[in-house]
Subunit: 407 residues, 2 copies
């Protein structure tokens, strides 16, 4: 086991009815900004429930935080925060709203000239942030109990020549954001997060499935590297994977199955709250490539992961051999046959699991072709991501092979 | 899964050499009291290492905190804290030193007349406590990452008539403390704890074994109850049990096996930091009976647990049936035979595991006879412990049967 520091100060309030406790968690004198996305928290009454729990308090609202929340939108909230002397932020939604609110919290206290720098330096120059809490509606990213956030910028869209020769010379603007970057800082750990599984009952199946895949891949990126004899971390990771495999299909089949929704929600939180990643190597190659694919091609975040992960496992099967065999045995009960066939079968099982949730695992299924690869590699290079992987051996060339294997 | 709140703010610094970081974790202006037990932290250089990390800082020392730390000893430290205006406590040792330091931290800020009341009300009237940190040398109790403490009081020893009729009328004073009680309060979470596995290399085998049993029983008391479909908590608990079973014998055979010592240390911390106990029923019957046995008979804490737990499982086998079968299958790989025989085998395996560590599982092995039972039951009643168990069905009579089955 490698040396580590672990410190997660977020208070979790888990279970049905816990939104009512929000009022006690926010200092009495606070001027509170509730942040959210689009219509679902309004439509299904979550916003009303939150406001009822804060009745009589100075409340402000900021809506319109997008999936892949953008700098441009969030900076409007930062202005509102300053104008109204907001001193507590309450995110109501999924990972995008919580991530976006973390950026608002940090940017509102930012001393530099352009808060986008927070993303460019990964959070290194953040000093402080407004306190924030969260009410989670979509189990997926773990943002409700960690100090990271992923933010996109749409201002400078990428310009590509039209593929069709007939339009030669006519440039096209893609629909996607150019940049999707992350930052991390202890100041943006939510002070508390409410995890009420019933609030995930109304999620569309695609979002439910995406959340399961996102959590699964978070676990894999902290687990499927090389062994360092960290038995607790390995077994915790395996426990999360098995729970996703068992209860993922269940929540899709029975959206109002409380026990299964609760297990999925707690699993997604535990998948990326730092605990299973303590003292072990990490491999964030899948996420790094996935972020660029989302930024350039507009694919759902989780769908990029479902495409990239199996290709990463396949391309890195030699350097990940020992953990792939452990994964094959403990997760997929694969004990017979030679090592190579067990590894092949485990990767196939992973792909089948994602597909069984309705999440395609090939770029082709999303209409993305080989031409998309070069821009992704260029962006990875521009963002200083190489080399990737737990052994720092996923170079630009290796990444090209992974992306080609994802087609 | 039941509703829950989870909030654990302790920062963990894990690994070899981490004591050097202690200075950065304690506010610069603090007047620091280092608390410890007997000779081992002096003899093996841990104390010197801590003092070197705090060189030039205002340091005070309080030694002599016993196993089963006593109110009488700790109140001397409280006086020292007040006299020297101490404002940070640093516990260096195992669970007894850390527990004792939590009491010092709370008692030093106590507004009432007698800090023993903190134990009598379980911490309910604690308002605040001095900040504290810990340097752990003995993985066992989990005190380094929780907000509980167990304190004994020796002042009023129990008076029993001599067993031998020849001495009729001559009262005898037992050697043990009369009371062993616990309190819990969020104010006594350590601000940080250093977990350096190399500091456990020099533990005597009996203390190493006791620590493994203590952690094992902590897990069981949060796991072996009745199912509430809490898959993450179950699998995390099972991961801890399997790690103790695998690496427990290893650290006894190879005291300087870093990987195994690290796994045992992290397991013991995770066994009682609140995480595996979220949202599930608990059964602390074993600990409650064990505390009285230690107080009255002077048995090591872990040895009381090794004796009581198998008897609790046996006596409660009907109400714990489903989890006993899950435990049999997932921990001991018992899949064949009828339910009753699998449960019997799982309990036998538990007993064998403790015995394999050199920890006897019968009261007789410690020279404790049936006469010891009535005083234990009387103390449990006096302390208001009945009914015990996750279903509140372990009455005084049921406890008598458990203790008789422990002989």
């Amino acid at each position: 086991m490698d040396n580590f520091a672990f410190h997660n100060p977020t208070k979790i309030l888990f279970g049905t009815g816990q939104i009512a406790a929000v009022g006690q968690e926010i200092p009495q004198e606070s001027r509170i900004l509730i942040t959210y996305g689009g219509g679902s928290v309004v439509k299904f009454g979550v916003l009303d429930e939150v406001k009822a729990a804060l009745a009589g308090r100075p409340l402000f609202e900021f809506s319109g935080i997008e999936p892949n929340p953008t700098y441009e939108t969030l900076m409007q909230a930062v202005e509102l925060v300053k104008r109204e002397s907001i001193d507590f932020l309450l995110a109501v939604g999924g990972g995008s709203v919580i991530d976006g609110t973390k950026f608002i919290a940090a940017a509102a206290c930012w001393g530099g000239s352009d808060p986008w720098d927070i993303l460019l330096d990964g959070g290194a120059t953040v000093k402080t942030a407004l306190p924030m809490g969260a009410v989670l509606t979509l189990p997926a990213t773990g943002s409700e109990m960690n100090c990271g956030a992923v933010i996109s910028r749409k201002e400078t869209r990428i310009t590509l020549p039209a593929a069709n020769g007939a339009n030669a010379g006519v440039s096209m603007i893609t629909k996607s954001q150019q940049d999707k970057l992350y930052f991390m800082h202890p100041a943006v750990y939510p002070r508390f997060s409410v995890l009420d599984p019933t609030k995930s009952y109304t999620l569309p199946p695609q979002q439910t499935a995406n959340g399961i895949v996102d959590a699964f891949v978070h676990v894999m990126e902290q687990y499927l590297t090389y062994p360092v004899d960290a038995k607790v971390q390995d077994r915790f990771a395996e426990g999360l994977l098995l729970t996703l495999i068992e209860d993922g299909p269940k929540v899709l089949a029975e959206p109002e199955n409380y026990a299964a929704r609760a297990n999925i929600m707690w699993t997604a939180t535990m998948a990326l709250n730092g605990l299973i990643g303590t003292g072990v190597p990490h491999d964030w190659a899948t996420h790094m490539m996935g972020h660029e694919l989302t930024a350039l091609q507009g694919l759902d975040h989780a769908r990029t992961l479902a495409v990239i992960l199996p290709a990463v496992l396949e391309q890195q099967r030699d350097s990940k051999r020992e953990k792939l065999l452990q994964y094959a045995a403990r997760i997929w009960d694969l004990h017979s046959g030679d090592e190579a066939s067990r590894i092949t079968a485990a990767i196939a099982k992973t792909r089948e699991f994602f597909e069984s949730l309705g999440v395609a695992t090939r770029l082709a299924a999303y209409g993305v072709t080989a031409e998309a690869i070069a821009p992704v590699l260029a962006k990875l290079e521009q963002h200083g991501r190489f080399p990737l992987g737990e052994r720092q051996d996923v170079t630009l060339d290796a990444s090209r092979r992974i992306l080609e294997a994802s087609l």
